[in-house]
Symmetry: C2
Subunit: 203 residues, 2 copies
């Protein structure tokens, strides 16, 4: 299994270079567990979902603690058939999910969100979950939507995506659970995600 | 068939509100052909791929003509089983593609890119194409990658996505063709796309 993300931070300020650089320092605790490579468009992070989503969450929370409007785009992927197997991406939750029914996976996902830490940073997210390479992909999507609606972070459905709102801790746990618990454990699943904080549209 | 996009423009300047507002004026020629609705996170555009990709292209090109670094995120979707049929999304190219072999679709896609207008705006793009709800989705992905590599806008492959570079006219035509010509004509296909212009990382 190969798991990772392409992550881009977009601070809406003329000081965006400083905000991006200081945001990237939030990744320091994760450099042992993740492969991290930055180019001119995004930062690649490869590793298991536990450190991966924690790192993405902390990167965005660090930038969102500043007063400026900031957004982030993330392309998350697991199990892409075109990527090589990588032992650093091993995820016990995925292995154990192999034989679980959709209802059980929804319950585990809800428990994880309830146990998420409170980071004291309110954020907005919209995202799309894609389950690839199987005929009944919409069953898994609808199961995931059930989980989302009961998660405490659900804001509304939009065309092509779902809106979440809440503390960064609960919101990113919701995203990790959506990514891990829906779609086949060994299958190809991706998420297209944008996060936003301090938007003047909400003032 | 329901076709559309969620589009967000991110100008990396403290004047971002002005840049977004002036960028949105580029959509005026398309208001007859597209349903356009803006909220605090993105602008929904619904309609056929011809005006849809032209509008997204012109929005980004308008913002990229300014000196500031600007990026855009787009979630494109066609044929989502959860969305209602919409006659305004009717696309003759999709209907005709129904019976075409992968090789023929690659050739038509290349012809379209060669005929794209030159907008005089250089941009970078990275994107992922997702073909949902069928077992052999990677065949279509690999066919699309063949087309991309010969398109003249291909820069490189990255984990989870493909980088394009070139004039906004050719790059957005490449994206439209990837969106239209690969994956079943009546199937569920999405693109997760980020565009960038005037990045200081490239100076």
């Amino acid at each position: 299994m190969f798991i990772g993300a392409q992550v881009s931070l977009y601070p809406m300020t003329s000081d965006f270079v400083d905000v991006v650089k200081s945001g990237l320092t939030a990744l320091t605790p994760y450099t042992d567990d993740l492969r991290i490579e930055t180019d001119d468009m995004s930062t690649l992070m490869v590793g298991a979902p536990e450190p991966l989503l924690d790192a993405i969450r902390d990167l965005f929370a660090e930038a969102a603690r500043r007063p400026e409007h900031v957004t982030m785009h993330v392309t998350l992927s697991r199990g892409c058939p075109g990527e090589p197997d990588d032992p650093s991406c091993h995820c016990e939750a995925l292995v154990r999910a192999q034989d679980l029914l959709l209802e059980d996976r929804k319950a585990l996902a809800s428990e994880a969100v309830a146990a998420a830490p409170d980071l004291g940073v309110g954020i907005d997210v919209q995202f799309s979950l894609y389950v690839l390479g199987q005929d009944h992909h919409m069953d898994e999507i609808y199961g995931c939507i059930d989980f989302l609606k009961a998660s405490g972070t659900f804001l509304k459905s939009k065309n092509f995506c779902t809106r979440l709102r809440g503390d960064a801790g609960a919101v990113f746990e919701t995203l990790r659970q959506a990514f891990l618990r829906f779609g086949p454990a060994e299958g190809h699943v991706t998420i297209d995600l944008t996060a936003s904080a301090n938007s003047p549209s909400l003032r």
